[in-house]
Symmetry: C2
Subunit: 447 residues, 2 copies
Amino acid sequence: MCSKMEKIEPRILSGFVNFLPREQQAFNNLVTKVRETYETYGFLPLDTPIVDLAEILLAKAGGETEKQIYQMKKGDTNLALRFDLTVPLAKYVAKNYYQLKFPYRAYQIGRVYRGERAQRGRFREFYQADADIIGDNELNIINDAEIIVLIYHVFKAININRFLIKINNRKIYSGLLTVLGLSDKSTDILRTIDKASKIGIEGVKKEFYKLNLLDADINLLVELITLEGDFDQIIKKLQTINNNQNDIFTEGIVELKELTQYLKAFNVDKNNYQIDLSITRGLDYYTGTVFETVLKGREDMGSICGGGRYDNLVSNYSNKKLPGVGMAIGLNRLFYVLNEVNLLDNTKIPSLDILVAPLTNDLSYSIQVANELRDSGIKTQIYFDKKSLRSQINYANQLEIPYIIFIGEDEEKTKTVALKELKTENQVNVSLEEAIKKIKDNNKVEQ
Amino acid sequence: MCSKMEKIEPRILSGFVNFLPREQQAFNNLVTKVRETYETYGFLPLDTPIVDLAEILLAKAGGETEKQIYQMKKGDTNLALRFDLTVPLAKYVAKNYYQLKFPYRAYQIGRVYRGERAQRGRFREFYQADADIIGDNELNIINDAEIIVLIYHVFKAININRFLIKINNRKIYSGLLTVLGLSDKSTDILRTIDKASKIGIEGVKKEFYKLNLLDADINLLVELITLEGDFDQIIKKLQTINNNQNDIFTEGIVELKELTQYLKAFNVDKNNYQIDLSITRGLDYYTGTVFETVLKGREDMGSICGGGRYDNLVSNYSNKKLPGVGMAIGLNRLFYVLNEVNLLDNTKIPSLDILVAPLTNDLSYSIQVANELRDSGIKTQIYFDKKSLRSQINYANQLEIPYIIFIGEDEEKTKTVALKELKTENQVNVSLEEAIKKIKDNNKVEQ
């Protein structure tokens, strides 16, 4: 009956992921390392709904983002899928303000949805890993530093050294644009600067002309975006431009200086961060520190970890002043790049520790062996199919299982096991205790 | 400006979860134990998309389920949110048939969506934890047994002993209804039986009358549904009814017998499973073994873990014969019940290991201490707010952090730390190495 039914093509939607088991394991290992680092830094787990009221999720979206949001109706209710983890966090904090202790430090690892054009390393359904610190009424700049320190240690934890965290502070532009009388064009100007790495400096200039900026202003902005040099030179340049004309501008400079001092105190390697005034972040909610992270040599993939300070995010839902700072790693993009540059070997661990292959008709002793292996925490599969020895070994090799235990009549009689290491093809007849010890020792070496 | 904006009420959608940090941690610990048990049994991780083509997700839904599905349109594409993890698994196996090795053993832990009426322990967005074994062309009944063994060990792993796995085999009804000439009403009859625990036996009888069943047939079916007694008695009764009239019926009886023999070989406690002919499972795709699990004393919460054998699920997408057997735990419902019966204490572990509280203006030494604690894998937060000693201790107590390290000028000078255990209020001045040792020893005892 079934074979006559019309088949539905099991196709993968563009921008959606279809990992094979080995890739899935490598991805999960990456996630585990990120999560462990977040926890070591004292962040508490949070898991917000993927589906929420459209009015809540759209409150701070706007612009390009809003068009990308997946929306639906259930009954009379307008729903949407979250497009980031920051907006759901803001709602959560507003909702649970009286139950939470501040500073509230939360991490979230979960899926988000953006209906943008799928391309290399850019997905429609993907995982973000966020860490945020929310203060009650105030939040010291050292928290901004610690978020950057956390990024630094996440990359170290996954054995990546060639990365660069580019840091800026929105107050600098906020102040400067006030000085230049361009505050009303602030959103457009910042979004234009944000696109610099995609559209190039000439593209930025064109857009500035379209916004009717003066030549002098354009030149000044372009000078800042392209500014290179060490930290002290950049600060000096900014101080000269500001000349104490604008307090917000001054604040931005002071915050950048303090931030950098704390990064030093935390022993963050100078090669892994720099001031970069072309970083503004597309989203509107940032108010101070902003940063993005690229892999050196793969800057073409764009930022794989960004974030910053948002002093007013919760204000959509609450009258409380709850300033926050946070970051988000695009885990699928990170995984994609690491795969491309072959940096994922470090996450390869065996899928299973052992395959128990019964060669007898009565499975009782094989089951008993498997029970004891599993009780010892060893990842064990019993091969139940009646297949040849060759097929069983093939299966173990294909799944990259390092050991097989064969149970024949001799082993059954002597209550031993025949333990075969697949890499060396060595086979020994040992007691189950010895086998367990051997497999556990092997696991320790591998990890 | 912001305070004048109209606020959006940060309300929680009915049927959606809003865990506070402590609950979230307890929930995550539950998930971790389930995952570790699945991995110990040799299941490979799988993570299918939540969003997929409506035609794929609806292929096997039908009836009540179809009405509950969240659907949406993006461009011209009809999309839906998955309502279980089995249908996405079937699609995945059909899609990746040539890359997978069979038997393919996969576990998935992820969210699913059902727009049913939210009530106690019943959610619209909730986590399922599935484990499945898919064979290529054939799959021995011992695999059905191993899935039930896995359920047994999951409950043991979370320290639950008072649970009951109720087992049946659909072939028994399949054969019986053929003998009775009721095959064409099979779907309705099985769905009616499935509702027995909700609508009661009288309710079942009423529905049977509506289906125009004969009194004799109704009596026989009701007798089976309410059959109690030990395994041998039930099997004997079934053999008498069948009297070798129908091969499928016979197969069902043989499979139940084999299954039970394997459960014995795996040392599954007899108190934790029984044959129950009222179990049929609502979904159409089951073809053989079916089972549900209730917590003894909380049967009113319904099944928190069910599953069974499906021989044709992949047939919607592929001509291959890929029989499978699997199970799904409703994690949010399980968590809800465990909470109600106070069985979650065992999952309480500290959120953080230590709070570093700087009492000096210069934070360098505090940062250095935190760096070393974190390098040792200790979950550490530095308290950056300039607050009183009392506030810092309060904060640690509220977050249930077991230790505080105070860094004053003396500690800075002597390169020591003042380590306070909050439970005992003991405070000692020790080297950082000693502090690390003490915290780690404490963690070992707690776990």
